[in-house]
C-alpha cells in the first residue's frame, strides 16, 4: 500500500492518486451492489412460497351452527373463531363507549352488514400468539364474556376486542365473503357494500 502510494506519487503525481481512489470506491460500490443483488434472493426464499400462498381460501358451511354456538376452523394454519352471537352478546358489545376501548373499533365495523350475529375472527392472541380460551362450553371466557388468553392474561369482549391484559390490539377480522346466506369463504375480500365499517 505504502509502496503503491509512493509509486503513484513518484511517477504521475497527485492526479493519479485521486484516480486510483475513484477506482477503489467504484470497485467497492459495484461489489456491494452485487452482494446485495445475491443476498436478496437468498433472503426472499424464506418468505412464504407460492404453494403456501395458494392454499389460501377455505369454505365454511354456517348452517349447522346454532345460535350461541362457537366453532373453530383452521385457516392458514391458525384457528379462526366463528361465533353465532345471541342478541344479548351483540348488545353488550355495542353499548360499550369507544373511549373505554384500548383499540377503539365499533362492533359494526367488525361484522358484515346485515350479518350482525356472525362474528368471524382470527383466534390468535395479539400479544404473543397463544390461542385464547372460550370456544368450548364451560371454558373460561374472561371478564368480558368473550375470550380469555391464559398465557399472560388477556381478556377479549363479545366482539373480540381487547379489554384487559397485555395484548395490544383486537383479535383481527380475516378477509372473508358470504358466498350464500349460510356459507362463507375465508381468504376473499367482501364486495364493497356488504362490509359495514369500511
Amino acid at each position: 500500500m505504502a509502496a503503491d502510494d509512493q509509486a503513484a506519487h513518484g511517477t504521475e503525481g497527485s492526479d493519479e492518486h485521486s484516480r486510483r481512489d475513484f477506482l477503489y470506491i467504484a470497485t467497492g460500490a459495484f461489489t456491494a451492489f452485487g452482494a446485495a443483488a445475491v443476498a436478496w434472493p437468498l433472503l426472499d426464499t424464506l418468505n412464504p412460497a407460492a404453494d403456501t400462498l395458494a392454499a389460501s381460501t377455505v369454505d365454511v358451511d354456517l348452517a349447522p351452527i346454532k345460535p350461541g354456538q362457537r366453532i373453530t376452523v383452521k385457516y392458514r394454519g391458525s384457528p379462526v373463531f366463528i361465533d353465532r352471537r345471541s342478541k344479548v352478546q351483540i348488545e353488550e358489545a355495542r353499548k360499550v363507549p369507544l373511549k373505554d376501548l384500548q383499540d377503539p373499533e365499533t362492533d359494526e365495523a367488525r361484522v358484515h352488514k346485515g350479518k350482525d350475529e356472525w362474528l368471524v375472527i382470527v383466534g390468535v392472541c395479539t400479544h404473543l400468539g397463544c390461542i385464547p380460551l372460550g370456544q368450548t362450553p364451560g371454558s373460561k371466557r374472561g371478564e368480558f364474556g368473550g375470550w380469555f388468553c391464559p398465557c399472560h392474561g388477556s381478556h377479549y369482549d363479545t366482539s373480540g376486542r381487547i379489554r384487559k391484559g397485555p395484548a395490544p390490539t383486537n383479535l383481527p377480522v380475516p378477509d372473508y365473503r358470504f358466498t350464500s346466506d349460510t356459507r362463507i369463504r375465508l381468504g376473499e375480500k367482501p364486495k364493497e357494500d356488504t362490509k359495514a365499517g369500511s
Binding site: L43, L46, N47, P48, A49, T52, T72, K74, R76, G77, S78, P79, V124, H127, L128, G129, C130, I131, P150, C151, H152, G153, P166, A167, P168
Partner: protein, 459 residues
Amino acid sequence: MSANAGHGAPQGTPRGRTANWIERRLPVFSTMEHFSQYPTPKNLNYWWNFGSIAGFVLVAMIVTGIVLAMHYTPHVDHAFNSVERIMRDVNYGWLIRYLHANGGAMFFLVVYIHLFRGLYYGSYKAPREIIWWLGIIILLLMMATAFMGYVLPWGQMSFWAAKVITNLFSAIPWVGESITTWLWGGFTVDNPTLNRFFSLHYLLPFVIVGVVVLHIAALHTVKSGNPLGVEAKTPKDTIPFHPYYTVKDLFGLGVFMLVWAFFVFYAPNFMGHPDNYIPADSLATPAHIVPEWYFLPYYAILRAFTADFFMYWPISWLITAKFAGVIAMFGSLLILFLMPWLDTSEVRSSRFRPIYKIFFWVFVIDTIILGYVGANAPDEVAHIALLGLFDFSTGLTWLTIGEITTFWYFFHFIILVPVIGRMERPRPLPHSISEPVLGGGAVGGGAAAQSRPGPMEKA
C-alpha cells in the same frame, strides 16, 4: 522452564525429521507446544475450570447432535414420531437423546457460572474486553441454537415456544408483521419454520466453534487473568499449562460429567416439561407455557413490562408495553457488552472490593428470583414453601416481584456498578501473584491471608 519457548520456529525444540518436514509446511507441533507451554497464572482457582468444561460440552453436543440428525425427520408430520422412534427403537437412541437434551441445559449451567466468574473477578476489564465481547456473542448464539433445538421434537412446548418467541418480533413497529411472516415462511409456525430451524440448529454450533476459536486466540494474546486480578509479571508468577492445568481441568471435567450423568441416568426429564411429550397442536395452547429454566429470567423481564409498570411510564407515549418488554429482554443481555465502560473501578478482583462484592451477590440472588418469577403465573400470590416444612405467603403477586427484580437488574448495571466503582475504597493489592504466597512485605497482608495456595503452588 521458559514460558515462551516453541513459538513458531521449527528449531525451537528438537524434533524428528518427519516432524520437522511437517512443521515447515504446517506449524502443528509449535502450535501444540504453544498450548502445552502457555504460561498460566499459578493461582487459578476452580472457577477457572468452567471454560474448558464449556468447550468439552460444545464438542459433545455436536457429536450427539450429528448422530441424532441421522435418525431425525424435520417434517411436521414425522418429527415427533421420529424422536419417539429414537427413544424406543434406535439402539442407544434414548442415551444419545438424553445426553443431548440434558447437555443443552448443562451447557448453559456451565456458561452462566463462567460468566458470573467474569463479573466477580472483573475479567471484562482491559486488556480482556474483546474476550468478554466474544463470550457474549457465544452466549447469544447458544440461545438461538438451544431455542431452535427445542422446537425440533415438535411437541406442544416446542410449538408454543416457537410461536411465542417468534411473535416477539411482531412488536417491532411497522415491519413487525413482515418479519414474523419471513421468519415463519408462512402465516404461522408450520412446516417451513421447522425445516429452517433444523437447518440453523445444525449450522449454528459450528459458528459457535468459530467464535470460540477467536475467544481463545484473544485469550492467548493477552493471557489469562487470575483471582487476584494483578497481572502476571515474572515467570515466577506462571506455570506451563501442561501438565498442571490439563490435570486440573480433567479433574473438574470428571466432576462435571458425574453431574451430567446423574441427570441423564436418574432424572432425564427433570428439567424438561411433560407437555412436550404431547404432539404439537396448533389449535390449543397448553394451560401453562414456560420456557426452559435457562431462559426464565429473561421471560420474567419480558412479562414485567405491562401498562402499569413504572419503568414503562416514561416511554409509554412512544412504544407499546409489549415492545418495551422485548427491548428490555434483549437489553438485559446486551448491557453486558458495556461492562468495560460501566465498571469505573481500577481494581479487577472483587476480593479487594468490599462494597462491589456485596452487590455482586445481591445481583446473583436477583437473577435467581427472576428465574422463579419466570416459572410462575404472574397473577398468583407468591409463596415461599419447602417440602411442606413451611409455606410462607409474601402477599405480593409474582408480577410485582418480577417488576421489582427487573428494576434491580438494570439499576445494578446502570447505577450501582459505575457509582460503586467511583466511591469505593479498594483494599490494598498485592504487588504480584507470588507475593501473597511466597511472602515479601506486608503490603496487602489481608489479601495474602485470603488467597489460599492451591495444589499447584509446589511447582
